[in-house]
């Protein structure tokens, strides 16, 4: 995928992010590339520690990549020296992030009005506090917090988790972003509230044309939210499969994607008890300090081919219309040429 081309609103090319000291370094994200078209949803799914949040933070400009590039509207966000590019502010306003924990991401000593009006006034998106109030009311209505008067002057602790998360979304919308990075945005919200929140976020896509990078560990949520978009499956720092959501859900090609889909319990007793299993060779998730050679998944992989998978690292290869897989065996079977 050429993330820098005009085809994509936002994208990543060969993103790498390391953490730690010179003595002990871990690579949290290793060579990640993908692109999201305007108005589309891409879901990053994977287990804890796979680098999905780190990737999300780099896409939102909150973390600088160690190497590699983030593109926004066809331009690289960081200039070749690694400084902020000329359009950095435009990028930062254009890409907003919603964090996982609605209890930690809203200032507890500010009212909802204060939380929401601060970015409006700071970026001079409104002329005065009257206009700010009008805009805040409009945005709270957009995210379904009505009657608005009940929320404007409340503090975050007076709201439920679902309501807080709506405020987080409304706050992200204050600066009219084109992209929202939603990092586990519904994970901490109860089941009965979750669908309402997801539908509200989907409406923003429909009505305002918002583009989403949606990060989740929950495949059911990914399926529901990104049905018309794509899913990127991450494993220990890399994307192992990228496909349209229906393809990934119903016909996964990478053995790790297959294992995940086979392992996930379903909210349907007959379905969940009759699901075929994928037996892994090991249950141990590799430590980032001692990554396996070759393919990172080979010690657990049921397709493991000695002399190939433990030696050569598979590339993310195109195997169809906007579909990619990083597996020697799956790519061979799909007829890809490296």
């Amino acid at each position: 995928m050429n993330a820098g081309s005009g085809e994509y609103l936002i994208g990543a090319r060969n993103l790498v992010r390391m953490f730690g000291s010179r003595r002990e370094r871990v690579t949290a994200v290793e060579d990640v590339s993908f692109g999201i078209r305007e108005g589309e949803v891409v879901c990053l799914v994977g287990e804890s520690g796979c680098g999905k949040t780190t990737t999300g933070k780099m896409i939102a400009g909150l973390l600088k990549p160690t190497t590699g590039q983030v593109f926004y509207a066809g331009k690289s966000v960081w200039n070749p020296r690694g400084d902020r590019g000329e359009d950095f502010k435009k990028f930062r306003l254009g890409v907003q992030i919603i964090h996982q924990d609605p209890y930690a991401s809203l200032n507890p000593s500010h009212t909802i009005y204060q939380i929401m009006s601060a970015p409006l006034l700071h970026h001079k998106l409104v002329a005065n506090t009257h206009e700010a109030l009008d805009r805040v009311i409009e945005l709270l209505t957009t995210v379904g917090l009505s009657p608005v008067e009940d929320f404007l002057y409340k503090y975050p602790h007076q709201l439920s988790g679902g309501q807080r998360q709506r405020v987080s979304v409304a706050r992200a919308l204050t600066v009219n972003p084109r992209v929202i990075v939603a990092d586990e945005a519904v994970s901490m919200v109860d089941v009965s509230i979750r669908v309402g929140l997801l539908n509200m976020m989907a409406d923003l896509k429909r009505n305002l044309g918002v583009t989403y990078l949606f990060i989740t560990h929950d495949l059911a949520v990914a399926k529901f939210f990104a049905w018309e978009g794509h899913i990127a499956v991450m494993y220990v720092g890399s994307i192992v499969e990228f496909a349209s959501t229906p393809q990934l859900i119903n016909n996964p090609l990478h053995p790790y994607s297959k294992a995940l889909l086979a392992a996930v319990p379903e909210a349907d007793p007959e379905l969940t008890r009759s699901k075929a299993r994928v037996e892994l060779r090991s249950q141990d998730i590799p430590s980032l300090l001692a990554l396996p050679s070759g393919c990172r998944f080979h010690p657990r992989c049921p397709y493991f081919e000695p002399g190939l998978c433990d030696v050569k690292r598979p590339e993310l290869l195109p195997i169809g219309e906007n579909r990619y897989v990083a597996c020697h065996v799956a790519a061979r079977e799909a007829g890809a040429v490296s």
């Binding site: 287990e47 804890s48 439920s160 988790g161 679902g162 309501q163 109860d190 089941v191 009965s192 509230i193 979750r194 669908v195 309402g196 997801l198 539908n199 560990h217 495949l219 059911a220 949520v221 399926k223 529901f224 049905w227 229906p246 859900i249 119903n250 294992a259 995940l260 889909l261 392992a263 996930v264 319990p265 379903e266 909210a267 349907d268 007793p269 007959e270 379905l271 969940t272 008890r273 009759s274 699901k275 892994l280 249950q283 141990d284 998730i285």
Partner: protein, 350 residues
């Protein structure tokens, strides 16, 4: 007392309250159920519905601010019933872990970080039972192996050296130390990754089959309940609003809240389904609404629901009970689920 050897736990009309500054929170309101040998009962509901309070009350480990204001909890061994609410502190210790063990929600926080696993196991054994040190060691090694861990390595490890899934397995092994009849699991797989969660689910299923204890597991996750439960009880605002065999609950739910939950959770495989959210939010348990506690959020609510609280009554069969006045209307909306079940059941018969 009557013989209830096949029913190790019965709970009758249990009420639990928390005294807080703002008033009295009625966290558990009149819950009754029983647990049969070898059975797993899932208690599902959302945060704040009282499911964890109920679980903790069953072994009387409630915090100081909480009070069991009414009810009976009885554990049965042979013909003998133990009335848990009348036990003294010392008797309680012997009863906890021996009759009933609880595995708490966060496997990460359930251990003392400065003690090796062996010391924690020994502490547990000392506190609750009369085994010798050697016996404890032998039993512990056996159990660790049973939960598919490397016993020699794990027993001398510190908690931080183990992964989340391993810790959860150690906790399970520890809970089985004194061979309890009843195991209470609070969100046993919630903090775990998908593949780890799968190994724990498979392990629990095996334990249940081979050891045959009764299992009460508390979860907000319908999928785990669908996997593990023989029976499911839905809790809302401190009460059980529906209880029945897992197939009844998932394919012909009779309570609007249960139906709402099912409609709000997508399955992963298969085609796209539209989901329907439940409007509103759970009620304030200090000042709950009159009548049925679910009526402000319920699409089926009538005038009667606003004034009278429905009782749990049997429906379909002796084993399926529901607390709702509008069961008939709810049922008409579950035809698609019933069809789905018929399809599976038909497939099975072939």
């Amino acid at each position: 007392m009557e013989n209830k050897a096949s029913t190790p736990l019965t709970v009758e009309d249990l009420w639990v309250e928390y005294q807080i500054e703002r008033g009295v929170v009625k966290a558990v309101r009149g819950v009754s159920f029983s647990l049969a040998r070898g059975e797993s009962l899932a208690l599902i509901g959302e945060s704040g519905c009282g499911k964890t309070t109920l679980g903790v009350a069953l072994i009387r480990l409630l915090v100081q601010a909480a009070r069991i204001s009414k009810g009976e909890i009885t554990y049965w061994r042979g013909n003998q019933g133990i009335d848990v609410l009348s036990l003294k502190e010392r008797e309680l210790r012997r009863f906890r872990w021996r009759e009933c063990a609880m595995v708490f929600q966060s496997a990460l926080n359930a251990f003392n970080p400065v003690l090796r696993i062996w010391d924690q196991i020994l502490d547990t054994a000392k506190a609750h039972g009369g085994m010798s040190k050697n016996q404890v060691r032998e039993r512990a090694l056996q159990l660790l192996e049973y939960v598919q861990l490397d016993p020699k390595r794990v027993i001398d490890a510190y908690p931080h050296e183990l992964s989340g899934g391993m810790r959860q397995r150690v906790l399970l092994a520890m809970s089985l130390l004194l061979d309890p009849q009843v195991l209470i699991l609070d969100e046993p797989t919630t903090a775990l990754d998908i593949l780890t969660q799968r190994t724990i689910i498979d392990l629990l299923r095996r334990l249940k089959k081979e050891i045959g204890f009764a299992m009460l597991f508390i979860s907000h996750d319908l999928a785990t309940a669908a996997e593990l439960a023989d029976r499911v009880a839905t809790m809302y605002a401190g009460s059980i609003v529906e209880v029945g065999p897992v197939e009844d609950i998932f394919y012909r739910p009779a309570h609007p809240y249960t139906l709402g939950l099912i409609r709000a959770v997508p399955t992963v495989t298969g085609d796209f389904e539209d989901l329907i959210s439940i409007p509103g939010a759970p009620p304030d348990l200090i000042d709950p609404p009159p009548g049925c506690k679910f009526h402000p959020r319920c699409p089926y609510a009538t005038e009667r629901c606003r004034v009278e609280e429905p009782k749990l009554e049997t429906h379909y069969s002796e084993t399926h009970s529901v607390a709702c006045f509008n069961v008939q209307r709810v049922q008409q909306d579950t035809l698609d689920l019933q069809e789905r079940y018929a399809k599976y059941a038909g497939g099975k018969a072939q």
